[in-house]
Symmetry: C2
Subunit: 249 residues, 2 copies
């Protein structure tokens, strides 16, 4: 992977992201357990794409799986190697990685794939995952989906907090034409007695369940199932998140 | 007035406050015209308490009135003297000023009186105004009132904006026990290439229409009338603001 391809802007998010508490990761792993893990042998090989700071990888390791994580942010992986010292982490972009028939399961959590902003690129990810899976291997990923999010995303949202040594403000605006939610965070941090400013912008593409199912089917996946995290798992905090499970056959 | 008494914390608000655009002041003066000004001779003497940056004073001057403004922020008055060079401005706290039977009307706009946090202190303001009015003089002031605001104030609100050279975040929390809305603003400004942080906290006390009417009557005012700015004047932007008009007789 060339530096040019890297999603380097996620570097600046790593410390905040890693600091979000552990409970939400526990919940995600519980879902993975219910949907996928209970059907896998141990030690199965799992690939975690867009693995972030390795919180999920560490929990899978503790459950007895072999885990490889890929992410395109070096800073995220710096945290990941601390959080999950026995997993393997590779600096790789989900759109460009290549493994051949290696994994029992591929996972992607925390709606990382919404950060891929075109269906063409997302389909390339699906193809890379397909190639990386063994026969009958399972691919599971969560996603903000249009059917669940569209109403909520159409109002501009402001969030923020001011503490003694740091402050942040986040504004979220949805563009109905491109179906992209622009998520801008401005952060101030007191470093060596001076306030520093950091800006982060993330574009979340909103895909429809129909488009995702169709793209998965075209790549060759079967047994494609969609879950509404809130309704099917009773998890209120994941209000607008959906989860897809499918199989390489 | 001693420095100790001064609401000096409003100094830091002056530049933002002065920068809020002119249209809202035009609307306020229109209301004053309908309710009070049309009944006054010109040049009547008007006292503007909590006059802020003098935007209303300047408009009254242009209409041919004599205006004295008082405010307890020196910085507000610095702007006021620029905005209304022909008005007279005095550094005075509404709770402590003394004039005797001088004015045809006393006004207080932009909910300044909600910043006075006890009914006892507010009653003292009403007494000072009473003393400052001529016989038949009119007192008009606007206020956030409990009956209109309580529902809206009970949800925590976050607002903010990040621009190239400045950013601010505001959080508003209401305490049902003290009936005080705490309004905290953290502002960052790029000054000579360095980010500086400023904090401002304002406590807005929520009074009921009943309490205000009763306090006015006890001081000696008559013809006390309450207006709902939104319903009675059709001004949506003043959604939760009420206006009291009364007379010294």
């Amino acid at each position: 992977m060339t530096t040019k391809n890297r999603y380097a802007e996620y570097d600046s998010l790593a410390s905040m992201y890693d600091d979000q508490g552990t409970q939400r990761h526990d919940i995600v792993v519980e879902q993975l357990e219910q949907l996928v893990l209970q059907h896998l042998p141990k030690p199965a090989r799992i690939l975690d794409i867009c693995c972030g700071t390795g919180q999920i990888a560490q929990r899978l390791l503790q459950k007895g799986y072999q885990v490889i994580g890929i992410d395109s942010s070096e800073e995220m992986l710096r945290y990941a190697r601390k959080n999950a010292p026995h997993a393997e982490f590779i600096l790789e972009d989900a759109r460009f990685f290549q493994f051949t028939s290696t994994f029992h399961a591929v996972i992607s959590t925390d709606v990382g794939l919404n950060l891929i902003n075109t269906l063409e690129e997302l389909k390339r990810v699906f193809q890379n995952v397909y190639q990386a899976l063994r026969e009958n291997g399972i691919f599971i990923f969560d996603l903000y989906v249009e059917e669940l999010c569209i109403e909520d995303w159409q109002t501009t949202k402001i969030q923020g907090e001011a503490k003694e040594n740091n402050a942040w403000i986040n504004q979220f605006d949805y563009d109905a034409e491109t179906k992209i939610g622009c998520d801008r965070t401005t952060r101030f941090e007191l470093i060596d007695g001076q306030w520093q400013r950091f800006n982060m912008t993330f574009n979340w593409k909103l895909y429809s369940i129909t488009d995702i199912k169709s793209a998965l089917a075209k790549v060759g996946y079967t047994d494609i199932v969609f879950y509404n995290i809130k309704n099917d798992f009773g998890i209120e905090s994941s209000g607008h998140v959906g989860c897809f499970v499918c199989r390489k056959s």
